[in-house]
């Protein structure tokens, strides 16, 4: 029974990480219909920059911030420099973002090499807390990860639902042409959303590097999980990303604990099932 609770807790913390990674991906798609295949590369870039900053200054929180900002900047550059030129042509944008992801991955291999990095957590995050109910120790960093994702999720929801810019973004999701006609600077909004998506990915990268580890290949791994999460949850909604992340995180951990050999299959079975029954995703709206 203890194992079941621990695995559930593991699933929740992994889901928190997936949510952080996928929410930016989902946001970008929701507004711009761009499947940003460079999202994983932005995440890894954030992770590496965060590691470098945390290593140089010894301040973990600064590392998370720097990783987020670096990826936000890179995301904005991608939109300004490349994807902005082919707005409205989603297939071209997707292909261009694949190219960007490959180029970024090679540049990062060049700069940081093939080593595996682990972002050192500050003392107040290291080690475990004793969970008396279960009679086991549990890593503090994973518990904080869950809290962090909750905070980010609520903040993102408030931003989208309650602020004026959020309302503009939502309007953009529903009817881009009308928004343009009303005179809103849609290109600037696109850049802002891309930067936000990058920021979320970058922070997720640093946190992934603290709770797990980062290495070449982490980019594709998180790109894949983000894709699966938004396909299951529904593209373009914060709630969908949360639900998708929860399902996939839990499924992966239960799989690893109870049927390790077939763990990789479980997530894709869920994805196939959702695609067959509700192709727009569990909380997604169907395309008009």
């Amino acid at each position: 029974m203890t194992l079941f609770f621990v695995v559930t807790l593991n699933g929740l913390t992994l889901a928190a990480l997936y949510f952080l990674a996928a929410s930016g991906f989902s946001l970008i798609f929701g507004l711009m219909r761009t499947v940003n295949m460079a999202h994983g590369a932005l995440l890894l870039l954030g992770g590496y920059v965060g590691w470098s900053v945390a290593d140089a200054t010894g301040l973990w929180a600064l590392g998370v911030l720097a990783g987020g900002l670096a990826a936000a900047l890179a995301g904005a550059m991608v939109q300004i420099g490349v994807l902005g030129w082919m707005q409205g042509d989603e297939l071209r944008q997707t292909l261009a973002s694949i190219a960007i992801s490959i180029i970024l991955a090679d540049l990062m291999l060049w700069i940081w090499g093939g080593n595996t990095y682990q972002v050192r957590t500050p003392d107040w995050l290291s080690g475990g807390v004793r969970l008396e109910m279960l009679g086991i120790g549990y890593a503090k960093v994973r518990i904080s990860l869950m809290i962090f994702a909750l905070v980010v999720g609520v903040a993102l929801w408030l931003f989208i639902q309650k602020t004026r810019i959020g309302a503009v973004i939502r309007a953009g999701v529903d009817d881009q042409q009308m928004l343009r006609a009303l005179g809103y600077p849609i290109n600037k909004i696109f850049i802002l959303v891309f930067a936000m998506g990058g920021m979320l990915a970058g922070m997720a990268g640093v946190i992934a590097g603290s709770a797990l580890s980062i290495a070449p290949g982490t980019d594709l791994q998180f790109l894949l999980s983000s894709l699966v999460v938004v396909i299951v949850g529904g593209m373009g909604s914060v709630g969908g990303a949360a639900l998708g992340a929860l399902l996939i995180g839990l499924a992966e951990q239960y799989g690893l604990a109870y049927a390790p050999t077939y763990a990789a299959v479980v997530t894709f079975v869920i994805m196939v099932f959702v695609l067959a029954v509700r192709p727009q995703g569990l909380l997604g709206r169907s395309e008009k």
Partner: protein
């Protein structure tokens, strides 16, 4: 995605490749330069470059032209890389691949190209050479089971472990490593109650960590690169402290050099390996010094991968030297030289092949030690001489035990 990536890099590389002149001998190199094994693959390339540099960059007046192609640890990527090297770059000799299942795939592929000689890099699956070997596939080195020689006995008799759980990646090389460990450990009277096979590139091991039975004396961990780092980090974060026994690529310099919090937990952990960082034979000291000089940014010491890719490339250089660089007979003379080739390997032993073209090697039982500068290294505890592929057992008995798999061997 994966295929796109390969296709794009293939186009980019072929555009940059110079047309081979008649005096050039093209040697293809297949290594993993992406994903979890990228650091290992990078080091393999260094080994090849060192062997070519040792020969002065040319053999019998023929320039050596190295073409490096990346695979991604999957068999199909290795096959695609080899086809590209053979058909586009005209390579008659290929050094590689790195990973177990890739080796099996290239052994099968080598039958379709009888004129091409494939010299294994560091892939260590057993059946690459044991069952159904291919006449033009060579392995100047051991398989994963040979690399564990001595460890099972040491764990049981010296460290007194009776019950050991296994955590390993789910493919042919770890199967072979587990066999190497268990064949000795079980024969000595130990038991392995549970084995956990996890997918390559798995990042979150926390549920495996909590599933490991609490009453085991030690955990045998056969994970490589970032997988090993992830598992050990999470194991330490969860607050467990059961001793670790390492597989050959778990306790490798690439893992020891990574900056992670589990370092202290590894000190004293035993492992089996053909490559020791501070071995004091003069040959190894010279090899490590040459490595450090050529690659100041490299790892602290040559890894298994630099070592084995070096031996593969060295064999190719010696073979080419003996035939004067002449491969015009489809490489038959070259392969005849390789069959009987003997040379001093970097650890000081004599490398030679058995009838299946698999190396008979010296193997080390090592333990992790903290070096004076605070970094981690390994120390040889014991050298096991002349380990052959059947681990000293009779070939018939060995083959009768069946191919390795998730469930074979078993001693719960």
């Amino acid at each position: 995605m994966k295929h796109l990536k390969i296709a794009v890099s293939a186009i980019a590389l072929s555009a940059a490749a110079m047309p081979a002149s008649s005096e050039e001998i093209t040697i293809g190199v297949i290594s993993i330069l992406e994903g979890a094994f990228a650091a290992l693959g990078q080091d393999g390339i260094r080994g090849v470059e060192m062997a070519v540099a040792d020969a002065g960059g040319s053999v019998a007046g023929n320039e050596i032209n190295l073409v490096v192609v990346s695979s991604d640890a999957s068999p199909d990527s290795a096959v695609a890389a080899a086809r590209r090297l053979i058909e586009q770059d005209g390579a008659k000799i290929i050094v590689g691949p790195l990973s177990g299942s890739e080796g099996l795939a290239l052994r099968d592929l080598s039958r379709s190209y009888p004129d091409v000689t494939i010299i294994n890099g560091s892939s260590g699956a057993q059946d690459t050479t044991l069952r159904d070997p291919s006449p033009n596939f060579y392995r100047f080195g051991g398989d994963g089971a040979q690399w564990m020689a001595g460890v099972g006995t040491y764990a049981h008799d010296t460290l007194g472990y009776e019950k050991v759980a296994v955590v390993a990646e789910d493919y042919s090389f770890p199967y072979t490593q587990v066999l190497g460990f268990m064949s000795e450990f079980c024969a000595a009277g130990g038991t392995v109650p549970e084995k956990f096979w996890t997918p390559i590139g798995n990042a979150d091991y926390s549920s495996v960590v909590y599933s490991i039975p609490q009453d085991v004396d030690a955990i045998f961990v056969a994970l490589g690169g970032s997988d090993a780092v992830s598992f050990l980090t999470q194991y330490q974060q969860a607050g467990f402290s059961t001793p670790i026994i390492g597989g050959s690529i778990t306790i490798d310099q690439t893992v020891l050099s990574s900056d992670a919090s589990f370092r202290d937990m590894l000190i004293g952990a035993p492992a089996g390996t053909p490559t020791v960082s501070d071995y004091d034979s003069p040959e190894w000291v010279a090899f490590a010094a040459a490595y450090a000089e050529a690659y100041p940014d490299g790892l602290g010491a040559p890894s298994i991968f630099a070592h084995h890719y070096y031996m593969g490339a060295q064999a190719a250089m010696l073979g080419l030297e003996a035939v004067g660089g002449d491969l015009s007979d489809g490489g038959a003379a070259f392969r005849a030289v390789l069959d009987d080739l003997e040379f001093i390997q970097p650890t000081g032993g004599t490398m030679r092949l058995d009838e299946n073209r698999n190396g008979i090697v010296d193997n080390f039982v090592i333990e992790v030690v903290e070096l004076d500068d605070g970094s981690l290294g390994t120390r040889a505890i014991q050298v096991v001489k002349d380990v052959n592929q059947t681990l000293g057992q009779d070939l018939e008995t060995f083959l009768a035990a069946g191919p390795v798999s998730r469930d074979n061997p078993s001693c719960p």
